[in-house]
């Protein structure tokens, strides 16, 4: 088709075109989808009515990381859910937790959703990670299965791209729209950090937190002097550290999980001993201190959870430690997970009806009942708005610093 010369000209053309596309994509920047408030319009959720035969358990699903680096987040959460369902019966039917490992990934979230729907769950706690939530939402919506995440904090699940809010999604934790600004305020007012370098996971959680923090930080008068993304499982942060060293920020802000924060902070501390380090809920985990050792010292972490003071948290915490042998604050979101399961079970108790020896559950009514929840839960007050956002709490962000190998809560 091409002569020799033609072929090489074609190759040049192809190369130039691909390079131009790379540049265009690189300069395009991210779309600003952070619309605020506004009217909430739901898509069409496929609510059905399900029947459960006599003697069969009611199945509640769980989707979260149960193997891999982030097992340390997913496993304690599952234990808390199982605790909430333990020994509970609804009109003679026991409750069974069906757990699926989604590895905290988008692919995993979608495939766990498929599996859980096939298992015939009536509701789901999870997914745990925002990346998985975003990937799984359409499936749950289509099947009319309400899912309550105890830990997905990203902006996107409650502000989806296409404008229609998912009716089947709710969360018992708080959005990064709250965590990001709280971190920014802390960085400026308490730490006195005027410049920040932002390092983020490129998934829905990392980019969401990055945007929320950056916006609030700049509004507070801070300056973001650079930002770089990374992929999950990346271990080579050397080039990023060199860029940070060059930019000389007061603060390094990390939006991601402890699995990458651990190698990152080791490489950062090898060259910059004194720069302040601030990260969110994905890093606030005992695994971070275990992995990073002395390099974790002095790191600041935030958690979109209230300062747990309620009696319900104490009761839950004691029970959790007794039943599972895991410390109540070793990993975040266990109280939120207990509450998410409780919210679902309470609604089931009200909605489930006996009919001809079978248990009949109207998924639409279940969804409505869950949305009407008002609970004084282990993690604080829980009440949902139309987007599925928890609006119950009063001081929904707490801050910590690593001191002597432990997280110490800071006074606010």
């Amino acid at each position: 088709m091409f002569g020799r010369k033609g072929r090489s000209r074609f190759a040049w053309l192809l190369l130039a075109a691909s390079f131009a596309m790379v540049l265009a994509a690189a300069c395009g920047g991210d779309d600003d989808d952070s619309g605020s408030g506004g009217d909430v319009t739901y898509g069409k959720a496929g609510f059905k009515t399900v029947e459960i035969a006599a003697g069969q358990p009611i199945k509640i699903g769980y989707s979260g990381p149960l193997s891999g680096d982030l097992k340390g987040i997913g496993e304690p959460i599952l234990k808390a859910i199982e605790l909430a369902a333990k020994d509970k019966t609804i009109k003679g039917h026991s409750i069974q937790i069906v757990a699926k490992d989604d590895l905290c990934s988008a692919d995993g979230g979608a495939s766990a959703a498929t599996q859980l729907l096939q298992e015939g769950v009536v509701a789901v706690v999870g997914p745990i990670c925002s990346g998985a939530v975003v990937a799984a939402q359409p499936q749950y919506e289509q099947a009319g299965i309400t899912h309550v995440s105890p830990s997905s904090t990203a902006h996107k699940p409650t502000y989806p791209d296409r404008g229609q809010v998912f009716e089947t999604f709710l969360r018992t934790t708080y959005s990064d729209d709250i965590q990001g600004p709280a971190q920014a305020k802390f960085a400026i007012q308490t730490l006195g950090a005027k410049t920040a370098y932002v390092v983020y996971d490129t998934d829905a959680y990392g980019t969401g937190l990055r945007d929320a923090f950056t916006k609030a930080y700049e509004k507070e008068g801070g300056k973001v002097v650079g930002s770089e993304g990374f992929e999950k499982k990346q271990t080579d942060f050397k080039a990023i550290v060199t860029n940070i060293k060059n930019a000389k920020p007061d603060l390094v802000y990390f939006a991601g999980f402890y699995s990458e924060a651990t190698p990152f902070i080791k490489q950062l501390r090898a060259e910059m001993k004194d720069v302040k380090f601030l990260a969110g809920d994905g890093v606030k985990n005992d695994e971070f201190i275990k992995g990073a050792g002395a390099d974790a010292e002095g790191a600041y972490l935030s958690l979109p959870s209230p300062v747990y003071t309620g009696e319900a948290y104490k009761t839950f915490g004691d029970l959790f430690e007794k039943e599972t042998g895991i410390k109540r604050d070793a990993s975040p979101f266990v109280a939120e997970a207990y509450d998410a399961a409780t919210v679902i079970i309470r609604a089931l108790e009200k909605v489930a009806q006996e009919k001809d020896g079978k248990l009949v559950i109207d998924l639409k009514k279940l969804n409505e009942e869950i949305r009407k929840t008002e609970l004084d839960g282990a993690s604080g007050k829980i009440k949902f708005d139309a987007r599925g956002e928890n609006v119950g709490g009063e001081t929904p962000v707490s801050l910590f610093q690593v001191k002597n190998g432990a997280f110490e809560q800071l006074k606010q």
């Binding site: 193997s67 891999g68 097992k71 932002v198 080039a239 060199t242 651990t262 060259e271």
Partner: protein, 318 residues
């Protein structure tokens, strides 16, 4: 988001050192690909996993010797011990793989050993992922921190150690290939196995030695990787494996100097190359772009120089 970099000399020298560091690792691993290709005309896709196994063996050795508790001059001995253990592990794995997965397919069509190699790669990767429940392990943090240098030119001890030991290993390998009987046999087999066997070279034995040499390099790379990045996991072999393969192709697959050069070119392109592109007005390529840059480079070079930078002189063999 604008990145305001006041690009200083020290910045460029740091990035250059970073490029040399990753480049050294790529080069060490790439040698295994290129040598096996040289004698068998086969791409050993399990080589990334041989590297991974070496890294895990080195980790096990360091932990057994005391891990984070090690201090003082003992550290040097411990690292040497870890390197030896890692090399032995990689070499044994590689020899077993060759015997079980490649040799029975010696006469088969070229795709068969390739598929077999991919199978071995996936098998080993998931075996280790399963054994570690897919969680990362952290290398003991024993290498002394700090750096050496003058003015804007600085290099951390670990980076200096990594680059120096890679270069030493490569020099050693090059001497073995060029100066010894074994090396001559390897070169003869690479040129023409039938002729070599007619001249009295034991072809099967020579091929095993090629696997041994390549795996030893990968084992060293495994420990260096662990000491430097400190995080290892069962899937760690995949990306460095692909990158090293790229480096081997870039340099001209089959060529030993080519693999070394390819490794460094790739390492520098990813770090210094990306920052150079960022100097262009309006360009801001984040860290995630480094793979795009690496593979764009590969495609570009292959379009204009299909045999790689160091093209083999004799490519007549079918």
């Amino acid at each position: 988001m604008p990145v305001a970099l006041t690009l200083s000399v020290s910045f460029w020298s740091d990035q250059f050192v970073n490029g040399l560091t990753t480049g050294s690792l790529y080069a060490l691993i790439a040698l295994g690909y290129t040598m096996v290709y040289g004698v068998l005309k086969m791409i050993n896709f399990a080589h990334g996993e041989v590297f991974m196994l070496g890294s895990f063996a080195g980790y096990g050795a360091l932990v057994a010797m005391g891990g984070n508790e090690l201090s003082g001059p003992v550290i040097a001995l411990a690292i040497l011990g870890a390197v030896i253990v890692a090399m032995s592990a990689s070499v044994s794995a590689s020899v077993v793989i060759e015997r079980l997965a490649y040799r029975p397919l010696r006469g088969a069509p070229r795709l068969a050993p390739l598929i077999s190699a991919i199978g071995v790669s996936i098998f080993l990767q998931y075996l280790v992922l399963e054994q570690t429940s897919a969680r990362a392990k952290f290398y003991p943090d024993i290498f002394p921190r700090g750096s050496i240098g003058a003015g804007p030119f600085e290099i951390t001890y670990i980076q200096l150690f990594l680059i120096a030991s890679s270069v030493a290993m490569m020099a050693l390998l090059y001497a073995v290939i060029q100066r010894t009987r074994l090396g001559r046999a390897i070169r003869a087999v690479a040129e023409n196995p039938t002729n070599a066997s007619l001249m009295g070279v034991d072809v099967n034995r020579t091929i095993v030695f090629v696997f041994i040499l390549g795996a030893a390099m990968a084992g060293v790379a495994g420990v260096l990787y662990g000491l430097f990045f400190q995080t290892i996991r069962g899937s760690m072999g995949f990306i460095p494996g692909i990158k090293a393969f790229t480096a081997a192709v870039l340099g001209g697959i089959g060529s030993i100097p080519g693999a070394m050069a390819g490794g460094y070119v790739l390492g520098l392109a990813e770090t210094v190359g990306r920052e150079l592109l960022n100097e262009l007005p309006g360009v801001n390529l984040g860290n995630q772009w480094r793979d795009v840059i690496a593979f764009t480079l590969l495609v570009t070079i292959l379009i204009f120089r299909p045999t790689g930078i160091f093209a083999q002189r004799s490519t007549t063999r079918a």
